[in-house]
Symmetry: C2
Subunit: 192 residues, 2 copies
Amino acid sequence: MADHPRSGAPELPATAYAVLGLLSFGRELTGYDLRKWSKNMRFFYWSPAQSQVYSELRRLLSHGYISERQEPQPGPQTKRYYRITDAGMTALRAWLGRDEVDPPVIKHSVMLRLFFGQQAEPDELRRTLRGYLCWLREQRTDLGEVGRGLLPAFQYPHLVAVWGQAYYAAETAAVEAVLAELDRLHPPTAED
Amino acid sequence: MADHPRSGAPELPATAYAVLGLLSFGRELTGYDLRKWSKNMRFFYWSPAQSQVYSELRRLLSHGYISERQEPQPGPQTKRYYRITDAGMTALRAWLGRDEVDPPVIKHSVMLRLFFGQQAEPDELRRTLRGYLCWLREQRTDLGEVGRGLLPAFQYPHLVAVWGQAYYAAETAAVEAVLAELDRLHPPTAED
């Protein structure tokens, strides 16, 4: 793991800060809780497997950024609760305040297919784009449900939810414009 | 590598189809050309390392989707040119026409930092968001330059470029709205 060039603090991947950030809301959480909470971040960042949550927790523990409390259960299992430490809070704040802006990374498979549209049937492209419109509609509904419960406690997640809705609305409008242009260039066949 | 459940064709990663798609524009290209061409896809999908381009070319060769022509050069080097085969064109068309819509995958680090904004100084968040606005402005300029040369030959890449510009414009408006809301909630300090 590379050391951070300026502060000497270890350089962690953004997903480690995502877990640390969820713990910064103040509650003691299990790995299971964290995975559940992280699902609210699927709209803009991340929907981790349970195993990824646990590997990030191990990483954060090794840096002293979180503490673990074990609670024996009936049977062989032990329940493990995690809490952010002062060192963890300092590390999170340093990461939030650093100057570099990591731009978003996008892998847009629908745009990729449109890019090679010359090799596709226009009707196939229309079907793909309409399928994407359905997915966008579902996302808007799901994000609407998540977003409703956020105020007044979660001001910043609420700002992200509003931004997310603007993104889905813009994508929807852009896809509709592409469909209109496609119809102009290649009028739909009768059976479409 | 898993077999495709319906057609029996091998299931390739989207990046393999991205390379195959670039070759479907009809020219015989070197790995170096492909890397150069792929840079026009960085706005929505992918900016591969040269090594990734070569590993995808090896994969496509092993499936018979592309052919290789070697041209001896002065010195020890051999120049290798790649061309899509009929089987490759069939595979690309099958991929473009399939029913499943893979939604875009986004890792939006700026939204991630805003999500945990409670732990940041509002002035730090403003700096991050303004830095992102600068990046968006550069992207719009760069995409504008790429997009200008596309018509009339590259109708579909042009549609993607128009869509990309709409995306950057929407992101810019959304970030400006977040900044305005941030100023309302936490008025800037004097020195900001």
